[in-house]
């Protein structure tokens, strides 16, 4: 019976980010937060494996304290147990540090067969934490997986690469990063949500993981974010109008030819 750890990130919902028009700075503070999209696919896949082979699904996140709500959702979706590593000093840690904290948490959680992660998160989209975590734990990693099955002590995974699909096999314990296409995450029912509140929820501080506070956050990270601005939008936004579709099409055609397109 497999024991599966799913690493989840609580991410800002990117569809609700506003921009300060004068400074072009992003306003993320009041944007709602949620489980990052592909991490949800990872959780769904873990729950499906459990439904087939039994076992246990553990959700793990390193985040601000408000991630409790997010982890409750993971429990409602079918995780058996949730671990939240939280500490104010963690803020602004990069992937190098995050993967270190996750590795310490995984070691404390104990034995496992699989770790599932999303291919990347919707906020940073750097695709680093999964492979970095595998490297820290010294276990095999298979990235960009769209199909997954377990056979005895092995995991078999189909990767979606630019030039081909590749079916890879690794001995467990192993780490897998999944892509959106692997499944359609379930929406928990009301009874599932009620059940979730009774499930075990563990909170750890960095001290409890033996991670020194000096080594996390801005001071401990090797990549430092200097500035985040909205991209410059300098588009003409000319509305092409006309009495009917033909006239509109003609006006657009004229504009394109004037711009030098469609030369023969």
């Amino acid at each position: 019976m497999p024991r599966i750890i799913v690493c989840l990130k609580q991410a800002v919902d990117v569809n609700h980010i506003k921009v300060d028009p004068t400074t072009r700075r992003l306003i993320t503070a009041d944007a709602p937060k949620k489980i990052s999209d592909f991490d949800k696919n990872a959780l769904e896949e873990a729950v499906r494996i459990k439904e087939k082979l039994q076992g246990e699904v553990v959700a793990l996140t390193v985040s601000a304290e408000d991630a409790k709500t997010t982890l409750r959702e993971a429990l409602a979706m079918g995780a058996d147990k949730a671990y939240l590593v939280t500490d104010p000093s963690f803020q602004d840690s990069d992937a190098l540090i995050t993967s270190h904290i996750l590795a310490q948490a995984v070691k404390k959680i104990g034995s496992f067969d699989l770790i599932l992660c999303g291919e990347a998160t919707i906020d940073s989209y750097s695709a680093q934490v999964g492979p970095r975590l595998a490297e820290r734990l010294g276990i095999p990693v298979i990235t960009y997986v769209r199909k997954l099955s377990l056979e005895g002590n092995h995991v078999i995974a189909e990767r979606s690469l630019e030039d081909r699909f590749e079916v890879a096999k690794a001995r467990m314990p192993a780490l897998i990063t999944v892509i959106k296409e692997i499944n359609e995450p379930r929406i928990p029912s009301l009874p599932d949500i009620l059940k979730a509140s009774k499930k075990e929820f563990v909170t750890w501080s960095l001290d409890e993981l033996g991670v020194s506070k000096e080594k996390v956050g801005i001071t401990g990270s090797s990549v430092q974010i200097l500035e985040v601005l909205a991209p410059k939008g300098e588009r003409k936004q000319i509305k092409i109008e006309g009495e009917n579709p033909h006239e509109i099409a003609e006006n657009l055609a004229k504009a394109l030819i004037q711009k030098g397109f469609a030369r023969r």
Binding site: I17, A95, L96, S99, A127, E135, I225, L226, A253, F261
Partner: protein, 322 residues
């Protein structure tokens, strides 16, 4: 311990390696240091000389049959070994899916920072690398720097231009490295249908989204693209949900920057816009006047693509004849 110096470039994808070589040359000149290519592969020694003509001062070659299956561990151990031995200041790695995994694992072994998918790379007054990348699925552009070395960044295809061939001299260094065995086994390879034209190379792209109801209807987009001397593209749902295509334009797919991008019946979710925002001229045709694609468009047509696209092709054809 020697101090960190030199700029390195690595990708298993040759085109991407050349594109990074061009940017690498610029960074190395600014730092007044050497530019090296790490050439890893099986029977590739004879490719080293030409890389000098493309701008490298040095080419480190590891020629080994273990690279043949493109599995990460041989590459990872070679790069870890070389970087520990020669201590580069900057490493640029091609951001293919394989390259992304490789870069993340390499920088974990080297305990250093990685900026993924940098589209702008500069050296500041303190000689630090400044890397710029897209965050929040396209809502933001982050400027980042490093507090450790080597400073590593991955670079996506078509971010930088390919360098020109020059007559120049350099050094080819063959290195022996003990390579690690792969931790995974490839048991099957399924080819994907590879299109003849790389969409990243198209000068003009006519792209369709969910507003195109049937795959056959792509014909009208193709007609327009052909007339303009361009190529058709599509959004992720058409590839992943409807399975009409194997690739798509967007943050998780192809990044394109053609001279003209005609967006037909696509709403323009932020992830799609992140893949085509840098197009020179953007035309958007959509029934829904609230479609976010209009916010990044130069020319806006609020109408049905089934009416406009064929009429546009027709109008262009007539005007070109006269």
């Amino acid at each position: 311990m020697n101090e960190f110096k030199s700029v390195w470039v690595f990708s298993e994808n040759r085109d991407l390696m050349l594109e990074m070589l061009c940017k690498g040359r610029e960074l190395a000149d600014k730092l007044q240091t050497e530019l090296a290519v790490i050439l890893l592969g099986c029977k590739i020694k004879d490719q080293a000389e030409i890389l000098i003509k493309y701008g490298a001062d040095k080419v480190y070659v590891v020629d080994d049959p273990k690279f043949e299956k493109l599995q990460t561990e041989p590459y990872l151990s070679a790069l870890t070994n070389l970087a520990t031995r020669y201590r580069p200041e900057i490493i640029l790695i091609g951001s293919t899916k394989r390259g992304k995994e490789l870069a993340a694992r390499l920088t974990t072994r080297l305990e250093t920072g990685l900026v993924s998918d940098a589209f702008k790379l500069e050296i500041d007054e303190n000689k630090r690398l400044i890397a710029t990348r897209i965050v929040y699925s396209g809502n933001g552009v982050a400027t980042e720097t490093y507090q450790t070395k080597p400073q590593v960044a991955t670079v996506q295809p078509r971010t930088f231009e390919k360098p020109k061939l020059m007559e120049r001299k350099g050094q080819v260094v063959e290195v022996n490295v003990t390579l690690e065995e792969p931790k995974t086994e490839v048991i099957e390879i399924k080819p994907v249908e590879v299109k003849k034209v790389r969409i990243e190379d198209a000068r003009i792209i006519v792209s369709g989204g969910r507003g195109v109801e049937k795959k056959e209807d792509f014909k009208m987009l193709e007609d327009l693209a052909t007339l303009l001397g361009g190529y058709v593209g599509n959004t992720r749902p058409l590839a992943e949900d409807r399975k009409w295509f194997s690739e798509w334009v967007g943050l998780s797919g192809k990044k394109v920057k053609p001279d003209l991008y005609v967006a037909c019946g696509l709403s323009g979710v932020i992830q799609h816009i992140a893949g085509m925002r840098d197009s020179k001229v953007i035309v958007a045709i959509n029934k829904d006047q609230e479609a976010p694609i209009f916010q990044v468009a130069d020319y806006i047509v609020v109408d049905d693509i089934y009416q406009i696209v064929p009429a546009l092709t027709e109008a262009l054809r007539k005007m070109l004849k006269s």
